[in-house]
Symmetry: C2
Subunit: 264 residues, 2 copies
């Protein structure tokens, strides 16, 4: 966590007056991703798990489909560069870079999506279920784990879970990055995402839905709001979308059959 925050001096104003204090803010770090010698993108991110972020990003954006395609990954933490080489060694097509979405909601703009992606993305068929009490317990643990958020108020968190435990956890200044770091770690360490649950602190927009459906995740749980496209895509892609998990309450937007009411 120390590497991801910075101490600075600020002036704090309250009803009682002003005082100079030391405060902690989240670090923001530019990471360049180079795919087969082609500089693809610069992400602004939290400076940890850069390899996971790069790999997660390349999968989320459709540049990689399988771990077997990767020949080599090199990371320069200091300069903020990740080089990824594939066995085929193909440079990404120029038009992939031009026809892109820049996002919206709280998070880096995913890019590169087109309507075709939506049509090409199959439905998530998982039959797993989770009880409402299990959702509340996981979100409670999720908040407990969000150390950088508690210190700075300036980052998002994401987690991969089964019904009982958080398996992979990440924090990043971008809500997209936090989820890409999760998926990058899962891909490189052969952690299954099928039949699992993603928790996010961030809002659930269309791009987030594409991301989780690509990894065959059937349940996404958020502390925040979804957009109408997030809801529509969750419905179409067979994903259970739970939002506004706060206190003992939650909203189930789509495929509510996967959320069971305890004792019933």
């Amino acid at each position: 966590m120390d590497n991801e925050t910075e101490k600075i001096s600020i002036l704090k104003l309250t009803e009682k007056g002003s005082s100079s204090i030391e405060d902690v803010v989240a670090k923001e770090f530019p990471l360049i991703i180079i795919l087969n010698n082609h500089e693809l993108v610069t992400l602004l991110c939290s400076p940890a798990n850069l390899k996971y972020l790069a790999v997660g990003f390349l999968f989320s954006e459709g540049f990689l489909k399988s771990k077997d395609e990767i020949k080599k990954i090199m990371v320069d933490d200091r300069r903020g560069v990740v080089w990824v080489e594939t066995k085929k060694g193909e440079e990404p097509a120029d038009d992939v870079l031009f026809e892109r979405f820049i996002t919206s909601g709280c998070g880096r703009g995913t890019s590169f999506h087109s309507a075709a992606d939506a049509q090409g993305q199959g439905k998530v068929e998982s039959q797993i279920k989770i009880s409402a009490l299990e959702v509340l317990a996981l979100v409670s643990e999720f908040q407990h784990r969000s150390q950088i958020y508690r210190a700075t108020g300036g980052v998002h968190s994401a987690a991969l879970c089964d019904n009982k435990d958080i398996l992979v956890f990440s924090e990043d200044i971008g809500r997209h990055n936090a989820i890409d770091k999760i998926f990058g770690e899962c891909i490189l360490n052969d952690i299954a995402t099928d039949d699992h649950i993603i928790i996010t602190s961030g809002r659930v927009t269309s791009e987030i839905l594409f991301k989780v459906a690509r990894r065959n995740v059937s349940i996404i749980v958020s502390k925040s709001a979804p957009t109408n496209l997030g809801v529509r895509l969750a419905n179409d892609l067979g994903v259970t979308l739970v939002g506004f998990v706060r206190g003992k309450r939650m909203n189930v937007y789509t495929h509510a059959w996967r959320i069971t009411i305890d004792g019933k």
Copy 2:
């Protein structure tokens, strides 16, 4: 506001049980910006004030420097396309599109920035001051105006203010978009931004600082956290950065001389 939200049926779970209710979510809408017949980008945004968003984006990203450069703007609200033609009619250079940042924090990824931008951006020299009580009053009014946020919890707000009043206000699913809509409106309607204040609901990252400094705004006030690069840029660019304005408290991160303590 009706055009920017959608009613949907959801399942609400509370300690008392489950109920099917009608809920309101923010709309997410893809907007294509075409500059001189060149499809530049697709932004995911709230479907209002598309012309302001397109113009604000083009200025923020450095594609336009002056209103006088604009020859014609056409908007297709239904299909989500804004065409902007300049008098020179030049297509944007390909490499502008390649060397880009995709963001991070809560909001669309601004793109296209390079270190050179930072060096090219002059310091904001404005001598205006604002009292802490005026900041609190403005933020209180700002929250009152955030109708779509109150209905959905799923959007960001931004405002241009003088010391006493909100002059321009916008809401959007993206924190970058909300600010670009403000600046687009100011540019097209000849509303001065020099010696004014920007309020945002979102986190203050490096990109937000570039945006406000480009419009010569000397004070940015946020309800949320800044990143370390946001603070560093604010310091370097001569911008007063106020964060975490909540209740009667606030943190002043940079150039605190512009914030006066009332009665002193």
